[in-house]
Symmetry: C2
Subunit: 283 residues, 2 copies
């Protein structure tokens, strides 16, 4: 059974799906793809189906000219910018139901968001037929959804998660950052600070998620002008909240700074369990 690209001995194709407004985070995705693939395709498509709020879709930044310049200067081979009417010529009958992986975090706060993400990513994967596709770890739940998507539906593509790019003060780079005024921008790193507190607690051996969340959310609640949407400790596979930290987990949060919604997350590993030297331990 024949498959695409490098599977036929052809060039290795890497796809970087984006909604444009390209920044240093996308640049990192492109650089990784460029290092690993023969042909790098960047798709730029502001996908209406993944916006749960009309005003968010309208406000989403569109910077196609500078996006194309960034792609050109980054060695991108193909920029794919389909019109909305080409991606959605009519309302779809068939969409991707992402199931229980969207029960928490952004999934529970943005109804239909991950259905829209998974559906458009499936369409882009089918169109571009890449060997690898690149996504930022900043959107941890999105990355988990897409890993399940390709695994559950046997899509022959390797999903690569690329570490989050941050400003000097820790703020995760996002196209939404440019919407903030100077005062909001100064408050914005509080999410990263709170997640770092969670990570330090976990690294130092605290296992009670109630205790970890209390310490982390306290940081955010003290900051004027910032509203906590969620801060959860979840398992990295299914993205479901845990009560006790026994394995590596993801600390993930969302805040509102004025009218701008920011998300971030950190992978947090508990300290290694000391080997049982008493000889009395169970299995």
């Amino acid at each position: 059974m024949e498959m695409a690209g490098a599977r036929d001995g052809g060039p290795r194709v890497g796809l970087v799906p984006t909604m444009g407004a390209l920044h240093a985070g996308h640049r990192r995705l492109i650089d990784v793809a460029r290092a690993e693939c023969d042909v790098v395709v960047v798709s730029i498509f502001v996908n209406p189906a993944q916006f749960d709020r009309e005003d968010d879709l309208l406000k989403y930044p569109r910077t196609l000219e500078s996006d194309i310049q960034l792609c050109a200067s980054s060695g991108v081979d193909v920029v794919f910018t389909p019109p909305t009417g080409e991606m959605y010529p009519a309302p779809l009958n068939c969409t991707i139901d992402v199931g229980r992986i969207a029960d928490h975090l952004c999934g529970s706060h943005r109804p239909g968001h991950f259905r829209g993400v998974a559906t458009v990513v499936m369409k882009l994967l089918q169109i571009a037929q890449p060997d690898r596709a690149y996504f930022g770890q900043k959107d941890a739940q999105q990355l988990a959804v897409i890993r399940h998507l390709v695994s559950d539906l046997n899509v022959p593509v390797e999903i690569v998660g690329v570490p989050t790019v941050r400003e000097a003060d820790g703020l995760a780079i996002s196209s939404r950052n440019q919407r903030m005024g100077p005062e909001e921008r100064r408050a914005a790193p509080v999410l990263y600070e709170a997640l770092e507190v969670a990570r330090q607690q976990i690294t130092s051996g605290v296992t009670s998620v109630a205790q970890i969340r209390e310490a982390a959310t306290g940081i955010i609640e003290q900051r004027p002008g910032v509203k906590l949407e969620y801060l959860e400790i979840v398992d990295p596979g299914e993205m479901h909240p845990v009560e006790h930290v026994e394995h590596p987990v993801i600390a993930a949060g969302a805040i509102w700074v004025g009218s701008t919604r920011l998300i971030d997350n950190l992978l947090c590993a508990p300290p290694p369990v000391a080997p049982d030297l008493t000889g009395k331990g169970g299995s």
Copy 2:
């Protein structure tokens, strides 16, 4: 952007997805694929996800040895018989929501059926990466679901619908036919007879679906031992019931003969509209 099989100048791959218990209808699918493709793949997988009733899944005939013989004698190149645990190593997060195309006919009588069908067909298409995939027109709603699936999600495959193979008395060939006793078998062609009545009405210019359904369902209701599940006149694209026949439609029905459920359908075209020679007609 590279794509599979003949799209790379490689061999043209045809996939015939089946649940086994192969019969003359499948043989027809294979023959068409054989005539059109370089490599013919038959998948045999009794898909638990598309059975809405446990007993139906348990009773589903399994005849792998004779299936493989039929494939061998029909020039099939690859028989793909994945174990259930390989197709469903764990409960899926991501499945195909088929939307409003499942609102009527079998979709409304078999909850979850078309989600299961569309999901497994998507998996098989991704695994086999065929250029063409072959489905029987007997399962008209299934064929419509799959046409929407590949169109909505941009799957690079051509879906080929193959005409229904019938017994001499009109009964559509189905693996479920072998479950019936001799008396049930004699009653079974009543569905085809009823659909033929609907077709004759439509061909002769009757446009009222109420009138067409009354004539067709009367045939079934008079037959002892047979229970009507549905008989509908639908548009062939979206599979939604129409009230007046103005374009080609599908007359589709399902009946129970004892404990065996049978489905069938016929494409029915109204007579061509006489040209307006008065010069007074509108647009």
